[in-house]
């Protein structure tokens, strides 16, 4: 039986973070100012296409933003967490913690 409180917290979980990959991207960007595509790829152990899809999804939510520049004449894309994204991620974390402590 779920109490009303638990349901409330579960509703606080953000849909965008249901995938663990997206959670991973947000965690890495939460503790780093900026990360480029390749660093994220190495950290998460993903293929180009897979990572790009998840990044696009987070970008659509306005949780992350992109900074494009050139490095040695090659395009270099860096990602960073937006204010909105940081808030959503922190709220998600709080909700997760509440659910776990309630379910004991």
């Amino acid at each position: 039986m779920k109490t009303i409180v638990q349901v409330k917290y579960i509703n606080n979980l953000h849909k965008a973070f249901e995938s663990r990959v997206r959670l991973g991207i947000m965690s890495a960007l939460a503790v780093n100012n900026k990360l480029d595509f390749n660093s994220l790829k190495e950290l998460l152990n993903l293929t180009d296409g897979n990572l790009a899809t998840h990044l696009k999804a987070l970008e659509r939510e306005n949780f992350i933003s992109v900074e494009k520049s050139f490095k040695d004449r090659k395009p270099n894309t860096k990602y960073y967490i937006t204010k909105e994204g940081k808030k959503a991620f922190e709220d998600h974390l709080k909700a997760l913690e509440k659910i776990i402590s309630n379910k004991k």
């Binding site: 663990r20 959670l23 965690s27 660093s39 190495e42 950290l43 379910k103």
Partner: protein
């Protein structure tokens, strides 16, 4: 609907990703021990073979001896650095990670500024014959570099940095103990710290 286990795994994944993406954890304790041994050997050679033991801030010795000590210091530095890189490389390989990643880049960049500033200051000191201050200043600036690098690796590195800074400042006043304190700081302290790291994280 996700189960409790799933939520717990979510949190674990978040924690591990935050740590993996911001701290370089493949720094080997053994490389600290090795650096300490090189430093002890080096200070012994400088003292007993080259008769190098400045007891005043302004210290004159034969130019040729000074150059020998200078090269000895460079050799120790290269040995210590290459051992650290090699052992970290092996340790990262074992964990299936790359050595040159976001975190190691941050680690190196954070050390670079204090080390370069210290290096330039030391060249200035040598050119002004302020030889007595060279060993203390290497300790101070190395300590500063390690202290600022600790943000990007194991927290205990902060303590190592502080110890080196204090030793450097102490020996900059008591110049006659300069070489002795240098051997203690780079030698003994490194060995103790390296063994602690080894038994704590790698055993």
């Amino acid at each position: 609907m996700k189960e409790k286990q799933d939520y717990i795994k979510d949190i674990e994944e978040i924690r591990s990703m935050m740590e993996r993406s911001s701290r370089f954890l493949s720094l080997s304790g053994l490389s600290g021990v090795m650096a300490g041994i090189y430093a002890l050997a080096g200070s012994y050679i400088a003292y007993s073979v080259f008769n190098f033991n400045p007891d005043e801030v302004v210290f004159y010795s034969a130019q040729s001896d000074l150059i020998k000590v200078f090269f000895l210091a460079i050799v120790i530095l290269i040995l210590a650095l290459s051992t650290a890189v090699f052992l970290s490389y092996k340790s990262a390989l074992n964990k299936g990670e790359k050595v040159w990643n976001v975190t190691s880049k941050q680690l190196v960049t954070s050390m670079l500024v204090p080390l370069l500033a210290g290096g330039i200051l030391i060249i200035v000191l040598i050119s002004k014959s302020l030889i007595g201050l060279v060993a203390p200043m290497t300790l101070v600036f190395y300590g500063l570099a390690v202290y600022s690098a600790s943000r990007y690796t194991i927290d205990e590195l902060k303590f190592l940095g502080l110890v080196q800074i204090v030793l450097g400042l102490f020996s900059s006043y008591f110049v006659e103990y300069g070489l002795l304190v240098w051997g203690f700081g780079f030698g003994i302290v490194h060995i103790v710290y390296g063994m602690y790291m080894y038994f704590r994280y790698e055993k």
